[in-house]
C-alpha cells in the first residue's frame, strides 16, 4: 500500500505535553498544577444566555464571520479597553478559539519559504501551524534575565529578507511574562522599519497584574495596519470549552482569512456566540473578580518560591509562574517526572514550550488557594530533599 500520509505532517512532533498527560491520567491520586485553563466555571449569566439561545431554537449557522451582535460587542470592547477602532463588518472574524485564528492568520499571510519569527517559550501551536502554512519558523529564545520579554535587539537579529510575520505571544503562556508599553514601542520601531507584520496573540489580555494594564501592540502608531490581533473568551471569562475566539485585522487580511474559515469551519458555534454576547455586555465584573483572585494566588506562589529558595522572576500576566530548576542538574522533564512519581504532583516541563524552556517548569495557578497550598507544600518538600541530596554528594 502507498504511504497515506503527507510528509509535512509526519515531520511535526506531537505536543510535548502529551506524554505527561498520559502518565498523569493513569495516576488516580495525583494532583495537578498542569492545567492551562481557568478553574472557575463560566459565570452563570453567560451560561444562562447559552441555554436560553438553545431554548429559543437558535441552532443554525451564523454568518461566516460571526453574529453581528457579537462582532459589534467585540468592537465596543476593543474601543473601550484599548481605544482601538475596528469595522465590525469587514475587520472582525469570530473563530473557534484563539487557536483557529492563529492557524488561519498564518495560512492567509504566508507564501512558501517565508519566515515567521516565533519567540519561545510560548504556546505549543505556533511552530506547527507555521510549518503547516509552509512557512519557515525562526525561533527567538527569550531570556530569563529579560524576564522573558522580547527585546528590539533580539528581534532585529532574527529578521532576514524573508521575514514576513512576527508572532507576539503576550501575556505569555508558559512564562507569565508581559510586554509593557515601552517594550512594545521598542519592537514596533523594528517591525515598521523592516515592514513586517504581527500576529499578536492576546488571549490573556485581561489577566495582567502589573501597574500597567495590558497594552495591545495595535494601539501604537503605525501598528494597527500591520497587526492581526487575536483574543477570545476562554481565559478572561473562563469559557475554554465553548471554543470561541476572534481576530481583528485590516480588511485585506481578514478577507482572505475568512475564506479559509468559511471552507474549513463554516462558522463558530452559535450557542457559544450568543453566550459571548452576554459575556461582553455584562461580564466586566466577573473578569475583575477572577483577576483579583488569580493575583492573590500569584502573590502566594511568589512568596512560597522565595521561602523554599526556588528562583523565579515575578510574572505579571496569564496564570503561570515559571520557576528555574537548573541548580538541581536535571532536565525539566526529569524534574517533572520525579516530582510526579515521588510527590504525585503534575507540572509541565518548560521544555514543552520550546528548547529555551529547558531548566524551567510551568506551574499554573488556575487552582484554588487550598489546592495550591497542598501542592506547593509538596514542592517545598521535594526541593528541600533535592537540596539535601546535592549537599551529601
Amino acid at each position: 500500500m502507498r504511504n497515506p500520509l503527507s510528509d509535512k505532517i509526519v515531520t511535526i512532533k506531537p505536543s510535548g505535553i502529551r506524554k505527561f498527560f498520559d502518565i498523569v491520567s493513569e495516576m488516580e491520586d495525583a494532583i495537578s498544577l498542569g492545567v492551562g485553563e481557568p478553574d472557575f466555571d463560566t459565570p452563570w449569566h453567560i451560561r444562562d444566555e447559552g441555554i436560553y439561545s438553545l431554548e429559543k431554537g437558535r441552532t443554525f449557522y451564523t454568518s461566516n464571520s460571526g453574529l453581528k451582535e457579537l462582532k459589534i460587542e467585540i468592537c465596543n470592547y476593543l474601543k473601550r479597553r484599548f481605544n482601538l477602532e475596528y469595522d465590525y463588518q469587514h475587520e472582525v472574524i469570530v473563530t473557534v478559539g484563539g487557536s483557529e485564528a492563529i492557524d488561519i492568520a498564518l495560512r492567509a499571510m504566508i507564501n512558501p519559504g517565508e519566515e515567521v519569527i516565533i519567540p519561545q517559550p510560548s504556546y505549543v501551536s505556533y511552530e506547527p501551524c507555521a510549518i503547516l502554512a509552509d512557512a519557515v519558523p525562526v525561533i527567538i529564545n527569550l531570556k530569563a534575565e529579560n524576564e522573558f520579554r522580547l527585546t528590539a535587539e533580539e528581534l532585529e537579529a532574527a529578521i532576514t529578507d524573508k521575514t514576513k510575520v512576527l508572532v507576539l505571544p503576550f501575556p505569555n503562556n508558559p512564562t507569565g511574562a508581559v510586554m509593557e508599553r515601552k517594550d512594545l514601542e521598542a519592537i514596533a520601531k523594528v517591525i515598521i522599519d523592516h515592514d513586517i507584520f504581527v500576529i499578536s496573540d492576546e488571549i490573556y489580555a485581561e489577566l495582567s497584574y502589573g501597574k500597567e494594564r495590558h497594552v495591545s501592540i495595535a494601539e501604537l502608531p503605525g501598528m494597527k495596519e500591520r497587526t492581526v490581533l487575536i483574543n477570545g473568551f476562554s481565559k478572561a471569562y473562563a469559557m475554554t470549552g465553548w471554543r470561541l475566539g476572534y481576530c481583528c485585522a485590516p480588511a485585506v487580511i481578514t478577507e482572505q482569512m475568512l475564506k479559509i474559515h468559511q471552507f474549513a469551519i463554516m462558522c463558530a458555534p452559535t450557542t457559544s456566540q450568543y453566550a459571548a454576547v452576554e459575556a461582553m455586555r455584562n461580564g466586566d465584573g466577573d473578569v475583575e473578580r477572577m483577576c483579583e483572585e488569580y493575583n492573590q494566588r500569584r502573590r502566594y506562589l511568589m512568596h512560597a518560591f522565595k521561602e523554599m529558595g526556588l528562583p523565579c522572576f515575578e510574572p505579571f500576566g496569564a496564570f503561570y509562574v515559571f520557576p528555574c530548576i537548573k541548580e538541581f542538574g536535571m532536565t525539566s522533564d526529569e524534574f517533572a517526572t520525579r516530582f510526579l512519581e515521588e510527590e504525585k504532583v503534575a507540572v509541565v516541563p518548560g521544555s514543552a514550550f520550546g528548547e529555551c524552556g529547558e531548566g524551567f517548569l510551568r506551574i499554573s495557578y488556575a487552582y484554588s488557594l487550598d489546592n495550591l497550598k497542598v501542592a506547593i507544600g509538596r514542592l517545598a518538600d521535594f526541593v528541600a530533599r533535592l537540596k539535601a541530596e546535592k549537599k551529601t554528594c
Binding site: 505535553i17 498542569g34 503562556n173 483579583e292 514543552a352
Partner: protein, 160 residues
C-alpha cells in the same frame, strides 16, 4: 486593600494573617491594623461559622416570617424592630420594601416551637398587623456557599 481584604475574609475568616498579608501583597502588621480598625468601626461585626445543620443529628427548624406593622410616630420601624430582634431565637430582622415591612429569620428546635413563638410572642405585639410564616424545607445555598454539592475539578489534568 480594604475592599479586597473584606472579600477574602467574608468567605474565609479563619485565614491565617500571615497568609492574608502575602496574598494581598502587604505587610502582616498592616493587615492586623486594618482589621482592628474595621472591627472598631463596626464594619467587621463578627467571625461566624457557616454550618449545615442538616448534616448533624441536631434537630433545627428555620423559618422566614413576613411581618406587616404600623409604624409608630417618631420611631418609624426601629422600635418594633428592636422589640423583635431582642429575642435570641431571632436570627435576622430586615426592613424591606414591597408588600410587607419586616422580614424575620428564625430558628427553633421544632415546628411547634417556631409556631409558639409566632403566636405567643410575635403576633400579639401591639403594632403588628399580620404575620406570614414560611418554613424552610431545604437550604441549597447560604451565604454565597452551595451546601448541596461539593466542587469537583472536571478539567483534564494537563492541558497546554
Amino acid at each position: 486593600m480594604r475592599e479586597e481584604l473584606l472579600r477574602i475574609i467574608e468567605r474565609n475568616s479563619r485565614i491565617d494573617l500571615k497568609e492574608l498579608a502575602v496574598i494581598l501583597g502587604v505587610e502582616e502588621i498592616d493587615v492586623v491594623n486594618e482589621m482592628a480598625a474595621m472591627e472598631a468601626e463596626g464594619i467587621i461585626c463578627g467571625y461566624h461559622t457557616l454550618i449545615d445543620w442538616e448534616k448533624t443529628s441536631i434537630e433545627k427548624v428555620s423559618a422566614l416570617i413576613e411581618v406587616r406593622v404600623t409604624p409608630q410616630r417618631g420611631q418609624g420601624f426601629d422600635n418594633i424592630a428592636e422589640r423583635i430582634y431582642k429575642y435570641p431565637e431571632v436570627n435576622a430582622v430586615y426592613l424591606i420594601s414591597g408588600g410587607f415591612d419586616l422580614l424575620i429569620t428564625l430558628e427553633g428546635k421544632s415546628l411547634k416551637e417556631v409556631s409558639a413563638f409566632v403566636s405567643d410572642k410575635l403576633a400579639p405585639l401591639d403594632s403588628i398587623l399580620s404575620t406570614a410564616t414560611h418554613f424552610i424545607l431545604k437550604k441549597y445555598k447560604d451565604h454565597g456557599t452551595v451546601l448541596t454539592k461539593k466542587y469537583e475539578d472536571q478539567r483534564e489534568k494537563i492541558t497546554p
